[in-house]
């Protein structure tokens, strides 16, 4: 009797779990008219990297609808096949295989995180599948793989911006705090590698658990070293807001630099007044209103921001911008190639120059599969709860 009841309960639970899984992996299929071009997308819509994947998925859904409403590309509509990897490299691999073998998509955009992208880099290269990643790690495009591209700025470019801003402010002795996850570890490595060349001395270098609920003890340790002139934090939510709050609560009054992962106004709201004065490098998407009218990116950014915010009723983030860039460079290459042939589209993408995206102006080449230089960043700061351009 008891056994039966237990079995029943377990079945109900299993059912609920299954239902959850089904809901996550729904794919979007607009009614096809005359052979649509299939584009695969791997985003971590749920899970620990959902802050990346969720806006990325929303963005591409919106763009594909817009493109199809305008008649498609080369007379063909686009069909998006989205898979939610929940941030897991294993899932990314199996979904990538599915997209390559079953769906036979033209190209894959995503995944959202560097770990997932590295897990499928070789797979895509071997199967000659065009991959345009939304993740930042250098290793995705270095060494260059013929079929693998990425659209976000590199971590090293963010670090270079941070160090140069420090030098302008006369800061040379710093403390680094970072989270234990892949994002924190990648940033920490770049910060350590580039410090000597930029004349920066790292006095304290602490790593904390990404699930940490309070970081006053780690920051107390930094406060104990009075030579520290600035703190760099490399993590994602909620830790990046907790660091900001705890520093102010402790009276650790040195400038706080954050990574480009701070690029969402939501994080500013979470840190409240503690966010004031935080410095971080980010793309211009966050300060569209501040851009002069003639700026090459202004129109693209303003249109995307308006469309996204009016449709989803939430603030645009730079992460959604990455999937905008990933999809649009493929679309642009598709236009240039004139037909949905993967080899031709790849060649067109590799020679694509002067394409204005949300991150910057892309100039791809056979040796540069990122296509962005240092100008793709701008140093931002928080003033009165808003992002503004940092001025010396």
């Amino acid at each position: 009797m008891a056994g039966l009841c237990l079995l029943g309960t377990l079945l109900v639970m299993a059912g609920l779990c299954l239902l959850g899984t089904l809901l996550f992996t729904s794919s979007c299929a607009p009614p096809p008219s005359a052979e649509p071009v299939k584009i695969g997308a791997l985003f971590s819509v749920t899970g620990p990297a959902s802050f990346l994947g969720a806006p990325e998925e929303k963005t591409v859904q919106m763009l594909v609808e817009q493109i199809n409403a305008a008649g498609g590309i080369n007379g063909q509509k686009l069909q998006l096949v989205v898979k939610d990897t929940a941030g897991s490299p294993e899932k990314a691999v199996s979904f990538a295989k599915q997209l390559i073998e079953e769906e036979k998509v033209l190209a894959i955009i995503g995944p959202s995180t560097s770990g997932e992208t590295m897990a499928i880099k070789d797979l895509c290269q071997e199967n000659k599948m065009l991959l345009v990643s939304c993740a930042a790690a250098e290793t995705i495009v270095n060494p260059v793989a013929k079929y693998v591209f990425k659209v976000p700025q590199k971590d090293s470019q963010a670090v270079t911006w941070i160090y140069r801003t420090m030098k302008e402010k006369g800061i040379s002795n710093i403390a680094i705090v970072s989270s234990t996850d892949g994002y924190g570890a990648a940033g920490k490595k770049q910060l350590e590698d580039l410090a000597p060349a930029e004349g920066i001395t790292i006095l304290a270098n602490e790593v904390y658990d990404k699930q940490a609920t309070d970081l006053t003890d780690v920051l107390t340790k930094i406060k104990g070293n009075s030579s520290v002139q600035a703190v760099v934090n490399w993590s994602i939510v909620p830790a990046q807001s907790i660091v900001a709050k705890n520093m102010k609560q402790l009276g650790l009054n040195v400038p706080l630099f954050q990574s480009h992962g701070f690029g969402n106004l939501k994080y500013v709201q979470q840190a409240g007044v503690a966010a004031e004065g935080i410095l971080f490098p980010a793309s211009r998407l966050l300060i569209v209103e501040d851009l002069p009218d003639g700026h090459p990116q202004k129109e693209v950014l303003a249109t995307y921001k308006k469309d996204y915010e009016s449709r989803y009723k939430e603030e645009v983030s730079t992460f959604g911008g990455h999937s905008y860039d990933a999809l649009m460079v493929v679309v642009e290459a598709l236009k240039k190639a004139g037909e949905a042939d993967r080899e031709k589209v790849r060649d067109a993408l590799e020679t694509l120059t002067g394409f204005v995206g949300t991150a910057g102006v892309f100039n791809f080449s056979a040796t540069d599969h990122t296509g962005l230089d240092l100008t793709a960043f701008e140093m931002l700061t928080v003033k009165d709860g808003k992002f503004v351009m940092y001025k010396k």
């Binding site: 008891a2 237990l6 234990t180 790593v207 904390y208 309070d214 107390t220 009075s226 939510v237 939501k266």
Partner: protein, 317 residues
């Protein structure tokens, strides 16, 4: 001694006097930091005790009650004042707790404790997924109850957020309330009777299933309250439950299960151990240090620091 000024005279000199003052205030700061963390663990740990007291189950979905409490309160706080939102969240989550017991646990008449514990783990996953769909993946938080994100109470060169005092105050009230309930009310005594000897309790006319439902409801309410008071500091998101539950569980074990007061001591102790470890070792080792000491304590005193030795031996029958 004058009030130490961080970042002051120790900048280049090694003036020993200034150093000593600085070290003193740093030590105090580590202590306060430990209390801050510890208060969070303590308020989580208390929730484990009630269900354990009544049923012998370790409820691994306790962290999810915290998450739900925080989420509901954040949602309600948009429409109503903060105190009403918190009260509403506590009431709603208490209801959820009762419903879970009625739906899942009451049906298992001849359960073993192990079955039930595993079910709580399953429930934790289901609740987390449900929260993801009801709300979303974003991180939210309640406003600070007093002051704002940067306010802190300073003394002797160290600082502590006023929210920590709110958490400690809540912990104090909950412990007092529970103590009174479990020792001095008929319902509370009946609940303890269910735990120590279900058969005898039944023979004495106690409605055991109802007591269990009540314990789930109360435990959920406590969890929700904890989720609300810590939300300004830790922030609330759908995945926050599990890591908090692990720390809270460790604190409850360290103190001794079944005793709310011991849970508080356990929580503060885990927090202080972590802060002490950060002050000497790289921060990344703080869990290692805290849990190593926890293990040592458990080897020497399996019932926890303040637990009664025989308390858990009755459960397996």
């Amino acid at each position: 001694m004058t009030a130490p000024r961080p970042g002051g005279s120790a900048d280049r000199g090694f003036s020993f006097n200034a150093r000593r003052v600085e070290n003193g205030s740093l030590a105090l700061q580590y202590l306060l930091s430990g209390i801050t963390k510890g208060s969070i663990y303590a308020v989580v740990a208390i929730g484990f005790n009630l269900i354990y007291s009544a049923t012998g189950i370790i409820n691994f979905a306790q962290g999810e009650f915290l998450m739900l409490g925080g989420m509901v309160a954040v949602t309600l706080a948009v429409y109503v004042p903060l105190p009403v939102a918190v009260t509403g969240a506590v009431a709603i989550v208490a209801l959820v707790g009762c419903l879970l017991e009625l739906t899942f646990f009451r049906r298992l008449r001849r359960h073993s404790v192990l079955h039930l514990v595993i079910i709580t783990m399953g429930l934790a996953i289901v609740i987390q997924e449900a929260a993801l769909h009801i709300w979303d993946e974003k991180v939210r938080s309640l406003p600070y109850f007093t002051g704002n994100e940067v306010s802190s109470i300073r003394f002797l060169g160290a600082a502590i957020s006023p929210q920590v005092l709110w958490v400690l105050g809540t912990v104090g009230l909950v412990v007092l309330g529970l103590h009174f309930f479990l020792r001095h009310t008929l319902q509370g005594r009946a609940m303890r009777a269910c735990s120590s000897n279900p058969e005898a309790a039944m023979l004495a006319g106690i409605n055991i299933p109802n007591m269990r439902t009540l314990s789930f409801g109360l435990s959920a309410a406590l969890g929700a309250l904890a989720g609300c008071v810590i939300s300004p500091m830790t922030m609330t998101h759908y995945e926050m439950g599990a890591p908090l539950a692990i720390k809270g569980f460790a604190a409850a074990i360290l103190g001794g299960l079944g005793n709310p007061m011991a849970a508080v001591a356990g929580g503060l102790l885990v927090g202080l151990l972590e802060a002490a470890s950060v002050s000497r070792l790289p921060a990344v080792y703080n869990d290692v240090a805290a849990f190593a000491i926890l293990l040592l304590v458990i080897f020497v005193r399996p019932q926890g620091l303040f637990g009664a030795p025989a308390a858990d031996s009755v459960r397996e029958h």
